[in-house]
Amino acid sequence: MEFADVKPEPAKAVVRKGKTNRLNKHEKWYGYLFISPMVIGYVVFLLIPIIAAFSMSFTNASLLHESEFIGLGNYKKAFTEDPLFWQTVGHTLYFSLGLIPLNLILALGLAVLLNRKLPFIGFFRTAIFTPVVTSIVVWSIVWKYIFATDNGLMNQLLKLIGITGPAWLYNMELAMPVVILVSVLKNVGLNMVIFLAALQDVPKMYYEAATIDGASKRRTFFSITLPMISPSLFLALILTLIGSLKVFSQIQVMTDGGPGTSTYVLVYYIYQQAFKIFEFGYASAIAFILFFLVLVLTIVQWNLRKRWVHHEQ
C-alpha cells in the first residue's frame, strides 16, 4: 500500500556523543524553524478561518452592515424556512450519486482493459487522462458549445438523423445529467490511473493459482481482483464523493445554477450567498453543513483505510 504508516521512525539517532549532542540542542530550534511557515499557514489560513466561519454562522454578518448574534437563526432558516437550501442539498446528492457510479465503473472498466501488455495501450492511457490536465473552465466552455440549443453540434448530429434535439442546458430535467456526463469525462482518467496502479500491484501468483484451479475469468475478477484492489476502490470512492460535494466550476460556467434553480448545488449556493449578495452569516452556516459532511466522510475513510492496511499486512 502506498500509504506508509503514520508512525515516525523511532528516535535511535543519538548513538555518538559529543559533537552531535551539541548539534542536537540546536536541532530543536531548526525543527521549529523549518515547520514554522506551514504552522503559521495552518493557524492563519485554516484554523482561525474555520473557527471564524463557525462563529460567523451564528450571526447575520454581512459585508454591507454590522453583524449581530442571532443564535441558531441561520441553521433554522436553512432547515425549516429556506426551500432552496433543501433543493440545493438534493441537487448536490443527485450530482454525487449520478457521478460516482458512472465514474468508478467506467474507470475500473478502463483500468482492467488497459492492464495488459498490448501495442498502443500507452496511447489510450494518455488520451483518457488528458482531460484531467485540462482546465475545467475550458472543458466546460467547449461542452457548453457542443450542447448549445439549436446550433450546438449535439443537436446538429441529431438533426442529421431526423431528431429535433432538446434544449439540453435549458431544460430542468436534462441540465444536471449533462453536467454529470461532462464531469465524468473530465475526471474518469484520474480514478482509472489509480485503479490501474492497484491492478498492477496484485501479485501475479494469485492469478496463476486461479488459473490452475480452473476459475473462470469472471470469478477471478470478483474473488481475486476486486478484493485485492478494494482499498484503492474505497479511497477513490471517498475522494470522488468529497470532490463531488464541492462541485462548482462546471456548474458556474455551464448553467449558472439554472435553468430555474435546477443545478444549484451547495458550493454554488455558498458562492451566491457569500460573494454575490455578501450574506456571510447564512453562507457560513451552509458552508459548515458542507464541512460537516466532508468531515464525516474523511473520518470514515481514515478509519476504514487503517483497517484495510492492517488487513493487508
Binding site: P8, A13, T20, G31, P37, M38, V133, I136, S284, T298
Partner: protein, 280 residues
Amino acid sequence: MSNKQRAVLRNLPVYMALIAVSVLVLFPFFWMVTTALKEQTKIFLFPPQWLPSPVQWGNFADVFKVQPQFPLYFWNSLYTSVLVTVGTCLFAALAGFAFAKLQFPMRNLIFLVLLTGMMIPTEVTAIPMFNWFTKLQLTDTHFPLIVPPMLGAGGMFGVFLLRQFFIAVPSELDEAAKIDGCSPWTTFWRIMFPLAGPSLATLAIFTFLHSWDNYFDPLIYISSDRLFTLPVGLKLFTDTAGTEWQLLMAASVIATLPLLIVFFFAQKRFIEGVALTGLK
C-alpha cells in the same frame, strides 16, 4: 502478419472499447481546434463542417485584438501558479524534512494537527478570509491567490507527501551528515532536498495544475480585469465575445496548449504521480 498486428486483432473488442472512450474524451479537443480555425460564418453550418475550410489562422490574432488583455491573463496565471508551486514545494519539503528527520518536542502531535488541515474545504474558510482580505485591502490583488493556497490545505498535503518520502530515506545518511558537521539546514538543502526530486515533482505537478485551474479564488477576489487569470478571463470572454465561438475556442486553445504540451512531455511523471498518491 507481424506480432503487433496479430495482438491487435486478437484483442479487437478491447481496442474497440478503448477507441470509443478515447474518441469521446478527445472529441472536445478536436472540436475546439476545428472551431478555432473556422470562419465565423462556417461555425453553425448545417450539416456541420468537420474540418475548417478555409483555415482561419487569423482567429488567433483576433483573440488578442478583441481581448487585448489576454496576454496579461496568461502572465497572471503563469506567475501566480509558479509562485504557489515553488512556495509549496519549498515549505512543504522543509516541514516534511523536519517532521521526518529532526527531533523536537511535540513533533508528532504538531504533525497530526497539521494533517487535519487537509480536510478543511477552502469553500468554508473562504468566507471569513474574504471578509478579512476586504478589510485589509487585499482584495483585487494577487495575494489571496498566492499565499493562502501555498500555506493552506494544499501545503498540508505537501507536508504529508514529503514527510512520507523523507522517512523512507535511510537515516544513516543524515546521521553521517550530522557527524560531518552539517547543520540541519545544510543537510536539508544540500542532501535531502535534491534527493526528494521525484516526490517534489509530483507535488509540483499537482500544485501547479491546481493553481492553474483555480477558478473560485480569482472569481471572488479579483475585480480589475488587468489582474484576471486565464479561467476568469475566459469566462469573461464568453460573456463579451458572445456568439463568436471561433474566437472563444481560439482563446481556449491558447489557454490549454501550454499545459497539454507539458503533460505530453512529462506524462509518465503525471500519471505515476497520481497513481502514487491516489489523491485529489
